[in-house]
Symmetry: D2
Subunit: 333 residues, 4 copies
């Protein structure tokens, strides 16, 4: 349930409304947008009387939100969210490119890739330190050492870093990480989401392999309901019957999520297709569809990558993709 | 199994090779490309000795094709197919836009839409005369009268027409239709495909709702094995668990199909999403992904359309999409 | 929309009601059950006034049926349908076992299998004469000759025969076939369904690979709306992400379909699993779930079968399955 | 890679072989079955020479296991696993029925249900204390208090208890829980699985909503690789396009999993169908398909259940199901 306030409603009135509503037992969120102020009511709103609210002279309208996600809902927050990470802003018309290897392997590798992707225009460096692999016998990542190497690459290049968390107990290791990624297999690990909701870190939340957009938004809601509104959504392909590609990239998710929610939406064409040669056309398509950014795997030597080599671009290929993506974005401005 | 011949192999040698292979009990197809001649062997090739072929001084290489589709296979036909329809060519670097209403309803409607989409740059007029609806109690189309109305619109505007067939017995009604569409639900109606293989009409073959790309190519193969190589593939969304959109548009199908096959690939964002407001971003994405064209539903009065109103664009919206699609294509040239 | 009439309503009143409703422009079906008479209204019922009907002293209740299938709906026809084929009845508490090879190959094969499955208690002989295979280069069946061989086996053993149709133009060849099968890939070949609706032949309608139960019932509706109410539904496995089995047998379809519809439901564990060794447990499970019968592939020499060998039982294995199925059925009576 | 040893190989030889293999850098597991001893090698076996092993006079054969799961593989452990919980054994020919409410709500409720299901023959009491719900605004369970109430019901009835864990940090609360359940959404929460692998508690591992059997076995492998071999697999329905039922119960998973693995397999027809009236036919089908047990939701007042009411049986309905399940099992013995 939300109440849209009239333009220019004074602060005291908003505070007194919040106070009143809190006393009725609901949680209150106030969002001051450029053109209007919206007050969101979370919890059991059944006792709140619409007419009582409409009777207040500064309340314009009252709307009931049927979608089960509230904090993530665009009705509740009409403007795009802008998530600040250092000097960079994700969302709100910017375009964010996150690039780097599937796994951090060693210092030389991560530094070489970091410098290369920065030169081509990436805004963030990604690299896996904890790896959620299907088999317990596969390489599980360098863990804490991987995060150390990412931080070194950050010091060297200035690129903020993005890396995946699998266990809330590891949070202390992520203190200097700029954006924490939640992988597809943990999209409904609600205990992890709740812990991340208690932090203020930007969270990159990947859609699960067979999850709907509503479920993705409900998982964002778990983080936001805890007080952390810095959520970036990521479409990374869903499971279908197709076998030529690893997954099926759902690009209609981009405009659909942006209609339903104010959160930024980025696209990962590398995991979605599993094939380096499909990354370029899908990156261009994502840009044309209105994505707020891309997440692309780049490796200095894909043949020898410890994981996901076949889907990694070389730095030269990545540079090529960036040039074309910029052309598409320029054409649509 | 294919034999690639050396550049400049004289015609008689090719003919004598064909004759020899036919006598071994296999069917032979000769394709003369710009840079090389390829001889394809269809059927039981187990008795053909690779070395016997390689021993011929004009044979460069012999390749075994493991994919079960042969006529549609790019290995067998390295250049893009170009399918001529009147003065228009589909494939080979051109961009084909097919637009029109889901169903032909009456003369005024189809003429108005035809003129509008032509003015915005469409190359073909589409309109359903026979409708494959899930319920026997829903509107089943104007049938023969619908085709008459399409032909009138063609006479008036010069636009070649595309319409769907559901029954091979109706073929005589399609004599003046320029491109015959096979709908998603008939993609594996093998008897229909075989009959279409006996014609020379260009066929627009839509991917089935839960079919893989390999199955789509095998269905193209049914048509081509009958001798009709004029097949245009169409990605129109597949069934997934997502419910906000009607289907999920699989844009990775575009580069993947173009890698596997020489046939042109067009994209239908209207049926894929089921939502008019998603047609523009998906059309732009399809163009960026390298599609050979688009198929878009346009209706002069979507509110009153007898079918699929919610996914139809108005002529003004279609004009807008065309302008942006052209910008994206220009940017990538 | 249906009207339930009071017990003992005289024939003339029913006729006069039918006449009245037909004049209002709807189609009328009268079904006289054991305990009540139900009048079904098909078509645009928006102009029929509930109160006008309720005002007639012999009308007990009027119900609106929201499910889009009407003829197949159990609300409209509360008792189980019983479909007569010679002396055999399918549905209504009987158990029907249809057995035989995937393809009819030659006289010796079909006769040997027919005698064997009859001895083990099968009630029908199945065998493919027209085969809907994904590849145009695979064995397409013996066609008319296959049907001839089935008829010979019928003469020899007395078993009625079931075989698949792919093209309505072949109907004359099916004159002596007892039950006509529509395969999964043709479940939404609406033109074929409409033609079968004009016959009186019992139709075995298989669920499509990725179709819902509602779609299956709507396809049954296409046949029934044409006047042929002799439809037998067949669950044969649906496409899922699982790869160890060919498809995933959906046994909850059995009680669900029987709740929604009065039509008999049989289960094909052979195509559903693709593995002979899973046929027995799935046949037992289908019987326990309340299926009205089974369709099982049996081949005298599965190793050499021209199609689907890996999923065919030997006659000895089939005999074993029959014995256990009978035990399960006896235990639940 | 496994080595099968000759019957009667003396203990010292087995130990010396283990020692030798451990020195080559692989992990060794010895499993002594009734008729043969199998030595399993886990890790990088590329340096182990088959011939060196075959040269030892007590080694019968050496097999390479291509399936990525090893501890769970039946080749490696030909007999059924038997998992002891108090006096009860799960697997190995027994039949285990776990029954109880979706959520523990209060003392009266859990005691009443526990007594009822015990009287009908259930071997375990289930009840949710921590609930993994899609929405952060829904009832999340009584948590620690819920476990307390389960333990009280256990004291009263003697029934061992099964309840779900969502966070490894909660493990101390589960000290007296007999079987720990991992829910479908956590099937690939590898960090949780690893922690459970360090305990000796029997784990009931549910298949994820869109996961394959191989993925389920790989998740079992995560637990077993840590040293905890007490894993019970649970089929609980997978996501398909069908909407009449909540999920689609995959009963072919039962014989398939039992062929691939030695672990017991139980079936949850309540979550699979979401409809109380489908629980009986699916429970009977599961028993007929060879399941090692059932997990069924029972509530004393389904209308008022805090979660999943529509799929819960009343105690009387459960009693009915148990009687019929016993008949089916007796018929097949």
């Amino acid at each position: 349930m939300i109440a849209v306030l009239k333009n220019g409603t004074p602060k005291e009135k908003i505070e007194s409304l919040s106070h009143y509503l809190t006393e009725q037992g609901v949680e209150v969120r106030v969002w001051e947008g450029k053109f209007q102020t919206v007050v969101g009511l979370i919890g059991d709103t059944s006792k709140i009387d619409d007419n009582a609210l409409l009777g207040m002279d500064f309340v314009e309208t009252v709307k009931h939100i049927s979608e089960p996600f509230k904090s993530a809902n665009r009705k509740f927050h009409p403007d795009d969210s802008e998530i600040r990470v250092g000097d960079h802003v994700v969302g709100g018309g910017t375009f964010t490119v996150i690039a780097g290897p599937c796994s951090v392997e060693n210092e030389a590798q991560i530094l070489e890739v970091a410098k290369a992707v920065k030169a081509s225009g990436a805004s963030f460096l990604r690299g896996g330190a904890f790896k959620p692999l299907t088999s317990p016998y596969d390489f599980q990542g360098l863990k804490a050492d991987g995060i150390e190497l990412l931080l070194e690459a950050k010091k060297e290049t200035g690129l903020p870093i993005v890396t995946e968390i699998m266990n809330a107990n590891h949070l202390p290791l992520f203190e200097d990480v700029d954006v924490i990624q939640v992988g597809a297999r943990n999209m409904q690990n609600f205990e992890l989401l709740k812990e991340l909701g208690k932090t203020k870190k930007p969270i990159l939340l990947k859609r699960g392999l067979a999850n709907t957009l509503k479920e993705l938004l409900m998982s964002a809601e778990y983080i936001m309901a805890g007080g952390n509104e810095n959520v970036i959504l990521c479409e990374r392909g869903i499971r279908t019957f197709e076998t030529y590609t690893r997954n099926t990239l759902d690009l209609s998710a981009v405009p659909m999520l942006k209609e339903l929610s104010h959160l930024p939406v980025i696209v990962d064409p590398s995991h979605a297709t599993g094939l380096a040669r499909l990354v370029e056309p899908m990156a261009l398509a994502a840009a044309a569809a209105g994505a707020d950014g891309l997440m692309i795997e780049v490796h200095n030597d894909p043949q020898k990558a410890l994981c996901d080599g076949p889907q990694s671009l070389t730095p030269a290929q990545f540079d090529q993709v960036m040039k074309k993506v910029n052309k598409v974005r320029a054409a649509l401005q």
